[in-house]
């Protein structure tokens, strides 16, 4: 592309972003767009058509606001606080109704402002906002990341169940045969979940492990909640067939398999789907894991 069309495109995007109300230099806005493009197309140069489509799909006003805040424009920052503080606080209260996530939201402001104790250049967290979503959603995502990481690290420090005094010596399943069968079933279930297609596993994880509603699961997967319900029923059927096949392969008779299910039904204490998901994820070939 020649310089002139790029310049024209930049000016158009600048106007659409209404970046002049923050007195944001055009160069700073162009740098933010370039950074966004570089992240979206890390492997090479996109065609001018793809580039134009991508740039037009960005949340330009939010990008200009974030850019202006990162540059330290007072008016932009005031606007940001006015608009985004309620979003952050409401999200924090939803994540932890007892108010435990409020301090995370408050501490987030420091990182967003990019305060540097040594007086060096500002390193605002808002530089990592590339305009692919609304600024409010991005802030919710950052807050959710921090909250989940805090909870996960706190859980790692929790004593193991067998260290708990009330848990010592108290097996959730008194019948030793039953406990063994549940262990076998658990292994078969983990294998069945691991063999599911990623989307099926994701749907199962959203609904059962994360206990989202059908509507929430549907919104994440861009499916209607009736479709989610139908697909979950289908996945359960697939899992059941796979579990039974695995148990048969382990030499269990039909009667023993039926007993397996009875035991799991009566008391599935150690059956933690979240753990099963972790195990099933570990079984997957790690080379398949990709990130973007």
């Amino acid at each position: 592309m020649s310089a002139s069309p790029i310049q024209a495109l930049l000016e158009r995007l600048y106007r659409e972003a209404k970046a002049d109300r923050w007195r944001l230099p055009q160069v700073a806005f162009a740098n933010a767009l370039e950074s966004s493009c570089r992240k979206a197309y890390p492997d090479g140069d996109p065609s001018s058509r793809d580039l134009s489509r991508y740039l037009s799909s960005l949340h330009l006003e939010d990008l200009a606001l974030a850019c202006a805040c990162a540059e330290g424009h007072a008016a932009a920052w005031d606007h940001f606080i006015l608009e985004m503080r309620p979003v952050l606080y409401r999200s924090a209260d939803t994540l932890d109704p007892s108010g435990g996530a409020r301090d995370l939201a408050d501490s987030l402001y420091g990182d967003l402002y990019g305060v540097d104790e040594r007086g060096a250049a500002r390193q605002s967290l808002l530089r990592y906002f590339h305009g692919r979503s609304s600024l409010a959603t991005w802030l919710r995502a950052v807050l959710a990341q921090r909250y989940v990481d805090r909870v996960r690290s706190a859980r790692r420090l929790d004593p193991l169940p067998d260290e708990l005094p009330e848990a010592a010596g108290a097996s959730p399943i008194s019948d030793s045969e039953c406990a063994h069968l549940v262990d076998v079933l658990r292994g078969a279930l983990g294998g069945a979940v691991a063999r599911l297609a990623p989307r099926d596993r994701l749907r199962l994880g959203c609904y059962y492990a994360e206990q989202l509603t059908l509507a929430q699961t549907g919104r994440l997967l861009k499916e209607h909640e009736a479709t989610v319900s139908r697909q979950l029923a289908r996945t359960r059927k697939v899992i059941r067939a796979d579990v039974e096949r695995a148990l048969h392969e382990q030499g269990l008779t039909d009667a023993r398999i039926a007993r397996c299910f009875e035991c799991a039904n009566e008391d599935a204490g150690p059956m933690d789907l979240a753990e099963i998901f972790v195990e099933s994820a570990a079984r997957k070939n790690s080379s398949q894991d990709r990130s973007i």
Binding site: R132, L202, D272
Partner: protein, 329 residues
């Protein structure tokens, strides 16, 4: 050989459902799958702006990464209610539309069958005519309110339909004669009177004669579907105007040869031979604006001051009718 599942039926699905629901409420502490999605991608996923390729890659990762799954779920939980509202409204509208259609259909179903099973008195071709704009006679006063029709069982309906069918043939003949008669009167009036008579009115009467002759037993055209709603057990007369006189004419729904008519809003005549001969009856105490006919002896007239009078003796005496509240249908 394919094995039959050990657990069958709904119970078999329930155990797995219950099993899967039993989990810790805390997010998993297991290590993430590595190279987790950053906030930018997670937010773009939540906003639905990832490309199909990016979404497929992200789904594969999140399906194997408990940390990203938990973060994604947390983002979804924090969706502000305002973002969810449009979808709820959409769902509400999606339910409202078929409900409204169904309610309308039920209302039509309730209303229409009552009209269909009742042999509607056919108005003559002339009485269907609306007054011409050039007519010196003022616009007709509204017809009497429709009478609530009783619900009929299947046998009654069948009987009445057969009867109505036979009546239609007789009506067609009578219509032809009446239209011919009126056409002759119209043309003579046009010749005698200086008052203008609308040409379309004449044309319509000519057409009525022609149509009636061509299809003597043709069923009544669904011309006045709105008017049909006001036609009930009794035939409702409408005012029609010629150059110097106005005629209200109504046919009995049960006896097609029985006709009643009101001349110039004051005189009432009755015919029992399809309009060939007319006998004058006594008059109600006020100018008449409408007439409803039941049979050769019974009829009800509405006067211009809003009162109603009925007769059960062929018009020899007229007794005032007590107003009753209108029926819902």
């Amino acid at each position: 050989m394919k094995r039959e599942p050990v657990t069958l039926g709904r119970e078999a699905d329930n155990w797995l459902h219950r099993l899967l629901r039993q989990r810790s409420a805390k997010p998993g502490a297991a290590a993430p799958a590595g190279n987790c999605l950053d906030a930018d991608v997670l937010a773009a996923w939540a906003d639905g702006t990832l490309s199909a390729k990016e979404l497929a890659i992200a789904e594969t990762h999140v399906a194997n990464c408990p940390r990203c799954l938990t973060i994604l779920a947390a983002i979804e939980r924090t969706v502000p209610p305002a973002s969810v509202q449009p979808q709820k409204q959409h769902l509400l509208i999606r339910w409202l539309v078929p409900l409204t259609v169904a309610a309308t259909a039920v209302a039509i179903w309730v209303a229409i069958p009552e009209q269909q099973v009742i042999p509607v008195a056919r108005e003559t071709a002339a009485t269907r005519e609306t007054p011409s704009t050039s007519s010196p006679i003022p616009a007709p006063s509204p017809a009497p309110p429709p009478v609530a029709a009783p619900r009929l069982d299947a046998k009654q309906v069948e009987g009445r339909q057969e009867k109505a069918q036979s009546q239609r043939a007789a009506n067609a003949r009578a219509d032809e004669e009446a239209a011919t008669d009126r056409l002759a009167r119209l043309e003579s009036a046009l010749a005698d009177s200086a008052a203008p008579v609308s040409e379309p009115l004449l044309e319509r009467d000519r057409a009525a004669v022609g149509n009636s002759a061509a299809t003597p037993a043709a069923p009544p055209a669904p011309q006045a579907s709105a008017g049909a709603l006001s036609e009930t057990i009794g035939a409702t007369a409408q005012r029609r105007a010629f150059s110097k006189e106005s005629v209200f004419e109504a046919v009995s729904p049960t006896e097609p040869l029985v006709r009643w008519r009101v001349l110039s809003g004051t005189e009432i005549e009755r015919s029992t031979d399809g309009g060939k001969s007319w006998a004058r009856t006594s008059k109600p105490p006020a100018p008449i604006s409408g007439i409803r006919v039941v049979d050769a002896l019974s009829a009800t007239v509405t006067t211009s001051d809003g009162r109603s009078f009925s007769t059960a003796d062929g018009g020899a005496t007229w007794t005032p009718v007590q107003e009753k509240p209108a029926a819902p249908f």
